[in-house]
Each structure stands twice: as C-alpha cells, then as structure tokens.
Amino acid sequence: MKNYLNDETTIWSWVATTDHKRIGLMFFVLTILALMVGGTFALLLRLEHLTPRYTIMSAFAYNQTFTLHGVIMVWFFLIPSIPSVFGNFFVPIMLGAQDVAFPRINLFTVYLYLAGALVVFIGMVVGGTDTGWTFYPPYSAQTYTALMPVLVGVFILGFSTILTGLNLIVTIHTLRAKGMGWMQMPLFCWAMYGVSVIQVLATPVLGMVLLLLTIDHGLDWGLFDPARGGDVVLFQHLFWFYSHPAVYIMILPAMGVISEVIPTFAHKNPLSYRAIAYSTFGIAFIGFLTWGHHMFVSGMSTFDAGIFGILSMFVAVFSAIKVFTWTGTLYKGAVSLKTPLVYVFGFLFLFVFGGMTGVAQATTSLDVHWHDTYFIVAHFHFIMVGASLTAWLAAVHYWWPKMFGRMYPEKWAIAAAILVLLGFVGTFFPQFLLGNGGMPRRYYHYAEKFQPLHVMSTAGSWVLALGLLLALVYLLWSLFYGERAPRNPWGSRSFEWSAPTPPPKHNFEATPVFPPSAYDYSRPVEF
C-alpha cells in the first residue's frame, strides 16, 4: 500500500517535500546524528577524566570538547528532538489534519537547521571554541578561538526553533478536526502548545544576545565589556532569560510523551486530563520568571535571590501535579510492561530525583555551596538526559511502529533500556557526590581523592553508550526485518493510532471522525 515513505521516491520528493511526516523524519535523522556527535564528545570527556591529569587530550582540547558537547546537545539535539520530530509528525495526525498550517515554512525549518549545523560544523573544523556553551563574556569577547561560527550557527538554528513553534501553535488553533474541542486534544498536543509558546517568545532573546556577543567578539564594540562601561552580568541575565525557559523547551515535550505513554500502557484514563494540561501552562509561565537562579553568586541582592528562589520552587509544584497524576494513572491500571513504559519508569525516578535536587539548589544558601560544582552538572543531566532523553527514547519506541510500519524487537529493547538507565545512574549519580565533595565543573585537573568517583562515572558512560548503540542497531535492523506493525499495536485510544500504518501522504483515507475522548478505556478500541 502507498504510504508517506513510498508514495514518491525521487530525491527531489524528499528535499522539496512539504509533508510534515517527511520533515519530521528528516529532523529525526539529523537530531540522531547530532546526538551521536555530542555523545562522542561526552565519551571523550569522560575518558579524559579517568585520571586526574592528562589522559587523552590537552587542557585546551578539553575546553573545546565540553563546549561543543554542550552546544550540540542543547541546540542541535535536545531542543528539536521532540517538537521538530514527533511534534511535526504526530500533532497534525492527532488533530485529524492533513498537514501543519504552513508546510513550506516547515520545510524551511529543516534548511535553517542544516545551515546552522553547517556553520557550527565549520567552526568545529577550524578549531572550535572554548567558552563553554554559556558563552560568558568577558572571556568570550576575547577568546581567539573560532567563536563566531558557533554563535552564528546557533543564531540561525534559533529561527528554525521559532518557526516550528509558530507552525505548531497555528496548527493547533486552526486545524483541529471538526468537533474537536481544546479539551479533547491528546495531551501531547497540549505539551507541544506550551513548548511552542516558549520557543516563540524566548528564542528571539537568545538570538539577539548571541548577535550582540558576535558583534562584541568580532567588531569589539564592548557592549558587555566592564573596562568600557559595559556589564557582564547583563549578558548573563539576557542569556538565562532564554536559556532557563529552554530547559522547559526540553522537558515539556518529554512530559507530553509521558502523558501519552502512561494511559496507553496502563489502559486507563489519565487521573486528571485537566491537571496535566493546565500544569503545562503553569510550568511554561513560571519558567519565564526563574532565570535569576543561575546568578545567585553574581552579585545579586539577597532579596532578589530569595524571590527567584521561591519562584523556582513553584516549578516543582506544577511538576509534582504531573508526577502524581501519572502515578495515579498507573495505580490499579492493567499495566503491560513494554519498552516505552520501562523508559517511563526510568523517567519518573530520574525526573523526581533531578527535580528534587533542583529545589534544593533553588535554596540560596545551598546553591552557594554547590554553585559551579559537579552537583550542578549532575542535576541538569538528570533533567536533560535522565528525563528528556529517556522520554525521547520512550517516544521513539512508542511511535516507531506507526512511523515505519515495523515492530522493534521487544526483548532487545528492554535489555537496551535497562543498560541505558543503569548506565545513566552510573554516570551521573557519582557526580552528585563529587560536586558535594567540592569538585568544580569544567576543571581539567582534579584532586586525587576524586578519582574513584570519576572512574565510576566514566564506566557508567560506557554502559550508557552501549545501551544507546544497541538501540540504534536493533532499530535499524527492525526497519528491514522487524515484524510488520498493525494499525494500533498497543491498543491505544489516542487519535494518531487511527491513521493507517505507516500513514498515507495525507494521513487518513477519509476525513477522520474521532471519538469524544483520546483516553476512554471503558469502551472497546475503535481503530
């Protein structure tokens, strides 16, 4: 049968496609490549820290490696990994639409991503940069490394993010199937809506601040140079005004995935649809008011720090609402333990752990102790990798059958999931202890006493990499040899499963008529 993959097969039909599914798929491939590059840098960093002194690279190369690891993982993998891939692919199908609102703009986002990636890649080839992914001046205005291409590349990529957000917002507003109210949308669409608002409103601020830094670095205007009346902390404020909400660009889509996977595998209504939907907006809104917690030690007044600390703790309130709703959904559900759900269990544990350490750090007195140590590194990796990457893996396995029409091998997948989760904890749990013991982040040399924990962390990174590699291998294998997937292998009630597998070019054979709820497990499955 004709589907979106084999409907047209020329190269032109791919590079000039306006089909949201093909665009999602191209982003899927690109973001996986980014993950592999960023992951390789991570493995090299961990390998370097096997010994307290020189292991495989110089201090300079070490600085370049952690900078590129951060830049690539944050902007080229984590931020687009769910919205540009699964958001693009599934939001229109979930709404019963044939495409996103602006298909050509959607295609443009792929090329913006490619252009941004190319410019960063050029920067990498001509020597990379050593500022860290946060680009703090005054050092960033002075470094002689290839900072410009990295800034320009991320600047270009930002527009890709903004336009994806714009497209998803307009799609959700205008292309819902006849009769589908806001409260009938699958929860993933709510998450995509929330994240799109952040993308549209926060990313331009990053764009501007990167532009200004490019000017400061290239033309030496000294806008952030204290020697000439500029202010470096101003840069930090503007940078984190984007980059803190960016954390929610990474976590809200993950939460959307969790909200889809749990009802499907618990065969049960979400405990409260509204609680999950509204708390998304709680996080999206409060996320704009917490950036100051990155600067507790940058000369901020105690009063301001207290306000930012309290606002930051509010994020935990909304997150807890979600976590309780999810676990409440699992409670007394008819749980079938498939790979996506294994990742969800991992997510719940790691997200709560990472979140709680976040609340602890929002307390100013504790933050002074942990600031710029491995404790911070461990905390944000628990959220970005432990939660976001895990949810991304859940999404990959959950929607794989629908996207490619093939089942992945369940046993191998569960084995890989266990490796990933164990490897993750092995890598990052020791880093909490390292940080609390006084190990500063971004240091090349470290005291001998930290070595055992560093070795544990490095060993963990190998297990994590092994798990991811295993997943890559069996997923590629399943594309050719996997069992053919039925229309709705999980017995889900969510609307995307009503489309044929894989979906045809315009998603549905006929105008879809959806049942009133995407989660009504009291009735037999209709598709």
Binding site: P92, A97, Q98, D99, V100, A101, F102, P103, I162, L166, N167, I169, V170, H173, T174, L175, K178, V200, L201, A202, T203, P204, V205, G207, M208, V209, L212, I215, L219, D220, W221, G222, L223, R228, G229, G230, D231, L234, H237, L238, F241, H506
Partner: protein, 214 residues
C-alpha cells in the same frame, strides 16, 4: 479575478485566512521579543548612566527624529487605506497608496542615513569608536550611542524589509494576483508596517525626547 487558492490541508478559505492572520501575529510577538532584548539593555544602561543618556538625547537632532516619526505614521495611514481600497476592488488607489507607503519607507531610510552621516562626521561610531569619544570619554555616552545605533539600525533593517515586501505586493496587485478576496494578505503586510511603526514610536522618545535639555 482569480478565486482564492485553497491549500489542500485547509477545510475552507476562512480557516486558511484565520491561520495566516494568527501566524502573522505570533511572528510579530516573536519579533517584539527580539527588540525587547535591546529595550532591556537600553533600560539597564539608562538607569546606570542617567546623566550621560540625557547628554546623548540632547545631542541627537530632535527635528530629524520628528520628521521621521511623521513619515512613518503617514505610511501607516496610506497602507491602511490601501487595504481598504483593495477590499472594495479599487485596484488603482490600492496600488498608488501601497507605493506611497514604500516611498515613506525609502524617505525614512534616507533621512536616517543622513542622520548617521552627521554622526560619523562628528566622529560618533558604534562601540565608542571615533574622535568624539576621545573628547568625551564617559562610559555612559558610549553606551548611549551603541544602543542607539543597534536599535535604530535594527529598526531600519525592518523598514527596508517592509519596503521590499510592499513593493512586491504592489506588483502582485498590479498583476491581479491578489484581488479583494486577498485583501487580508495586504492587510498582513500592513500589520508588519504598523509593527515597525510602533517600535519607532518608542525609539523616538527614547533617543530624541526623554530628558532632553531644551
């Protein structure tokens, strides 16, 4: 006159129109935040160097800024009327007024460039370069003129983009590619013009009026 082209993924033309309008508004909100970063920087440095910002404001030529304000508002009036004429299927006046708006944009850019020329003559360049800053080494003046060049420069780029799109729209109306059914499209470009105009309505007091010593 052509029928409105309906894209396959929209159920009807009304929906398609709604999507275009919403998309434009969201785009403008994103643009606003782009400018906002610079507004925040301006506010920060103005609080840090209040006296020097007053000196800077007094230094700028109020009458040039004011003429430019009038020109942009005139453009807004013209483009709004052009949309209305197109809606009434009166293509001639619609094209004429769109082109007048283009001219307003070009006039604005010309005056702004002349003004930049005056600054350069005095040795005022962005980033505190030029002999003016040798005679006036105060940090605040440098911050004032750097934010001035950044904000007005970015704004001028936006005016230039608006002029280009308006010219293109005038051509489309001339070729009958959009008729009354598509007046909303010209309306969306008008919206962009109004946005650029509104930004200037903040830049004008920020750089010419607020705290000027008369």
């Amino acid at each position: 006159m052509h029928a409105p082209p309906l894209q396959h993924h929209f159920p009807d033309i009304e929906q398609q129109r709604h999507a275009a309008k919403l998309g434009t508004w969201i785009f403008l909100s994103s643009e606003l935040l782009f400018f906002n970063a610079l507004f925040a920087i301006y506010a920060f440095y103005r609080v840090k160097y209040p006296e020097m910002f007053q000196v800077g404001v007094s230094h700028n030529m109020k009458w040039l800024g004011t003429i430019n304000t009038a020109i942009l508002i005139l453009g807004s009036v013209c483009i709004a009327s052009a949309v209305n004429f197109l809606r009434l299927a009166r293509r001639g006046p619609a094209i004429f007024l769109t082109l007048v708006t283009c001219l307003c944009g070009i006039g604005y850019i010309t005056i702004k460039s002349i003004e930049y020329g005056f600054h350069f003559d005095e040795g005022i360049y962005p980033g505190g370069a030029g002999h003016f800053f040798v005679e006036h080494p105060e940090h605040g003046l440098k911050a004032f003129f750097t934010t001035y060049f950044l904000l007005t420069g970015l704004h001028m780029i936006h005016v230039a983009i608006a002029v280009a799109i308006l010219g293109w729209m005038a051509w489309w109306v001339h070729r009958d590619r959009i008729g009354p059914w598509g007046a909303y499209r010209l309306g969306l470009v008008a919206l962009y013009w109004h946005f650029v105009d509104t930004i200037w309505l903040f830049l004008w007091p920020m750089f010419y009026l607020m705290g000027a010593r008369t």
